[in-house]
Symmetry: C2
């Protein structure tokens, strides 16, 4: 099954999943598009449109079954299977990602952590020994890895991406503040912390001006 879905809808999907999980945990079994919209600060019509991108769900009048819809959106997000990840860069960001509590719960498993600095090698991060970056290629020959996480200096990120994608790791989660180039069959999602903080700064000053 293939979808053509806008980036705006994709960006909202994890929010749907989170709210549906919270509703399920609270024992809610059915929810209307209006109620779901209120939680997500959007309209009933937007909710219906978003969900309709992925097939037919819900009954007019009865709304959506919370567990069914959560499971379906989870599957769209790939949360119904396990993903194995490697973290490249055992600095502060790499360690924070390795220790982040909910990734494992959602099936995102850190298989190994690498660093180019010999002083980091052998240290333990989230229960894993840090390996030398030189071992990454051999590691990727032996293990099936889905996601490469780049938490290393900007200047080293492109080379690491090329090594990963060359070995078939087609999803790159990039924390380095640099725009990476990659083949069309690979996907990159960036978390640019400096840029996010600058946007906050912009909005704060814009709010003060009005």
């Amino acid at each position: 099954m293939s979808y053509r879905v806008s980036d705006a809808v994709i960006r909202r999907l994890p929010g749907y999943y989170r709210h549906l999980r919270e509703l399920e945990e609270a024992g809610v079994r059915q929810i209307s598009s209006a109620q779901l919209g209120m939680r997500l600060k959007t309209t009933a019509s937007q909710v219906r449109q978003d969900i309709a991108c992925f097939g037919r769900f819900g009954q007019p009048g009865a709304g959506y079954g919370v567990t069914d819809l959560k499971r379906h959106i989870g599957a769209i997000l790939g949360l119904d299977r396990e993903h194995r990840m490697v973290i490249i860069g055992a600095g502060n960001i790499g360690r924070a990602v390795a220790n982040y509590p909910t990734f494992k719960k959602n099936g995102f498993i850190t298989a190994a952590v690498f660093d180019a600095n010999p002083e980091e090698v052998g240290r333990t991060v989230a229960g894993l020994p840090v390996r030398h970056f030189n071992e990454l290629e051999t590691f990727l020959d032996m293990e099936k890895i889905d996601i490469g996480i780049l938490s290393l200096p900007s200047g080293d990120a492109q080379q690491a991406l090329e090594l990963l994608t060359g070995k078939g790791v087609l999803a790159i989660w990039n924390f380095a503040p640099v725009d990476l180039k990659c083949d069309e069959d690979a996907v990159v999602v960036n978390v640019h912390l400096s840029e996010s903080l600058q946007i906050l700064s912009y909005k704060m000053h814009a709010a003060a001006r009005t």
Copy 2:
């Protein structure tokens, strides 16, 4: 001066700033909208429109002065002044943010780190002693703080936001995976790591389906 600028333009501004800084460091003095667009993977016309949102810049034919435009976009982003921040939550994310190298260079200074866990209190994070969350209110009475960073469990985030905004901290950078409610005079920018990873997962599977 007040602007009405779309979110899409705002999201691109830090990228402009980063590329202009790199160009300045490389000794480039003038750049055309087409060249800037190539670096930012967009069109010359988009660049001209984006920049025109903030006033008149550049000369037809000569392009933009790199240093001038960088300084101007920096000022729009508030990078021409200092911002003082408090970090609430000294866990992995809080420590990674406290130690992030480029914030200070851009004038974002961490003034203090707080945690509700007595075992964290007194530990050193990025050269600062972790203070108990109970001291936050008194601290905010004495110090001018611009930005509150929430790197604490979801269940505690709303209360921390209310304490901060009640004391005049009107910019909240939220890493807790929860939607926060706040008054209209405050601004919240979220970094939802789990959601970003889910979007990567979605895109990887969508790419595999096509």
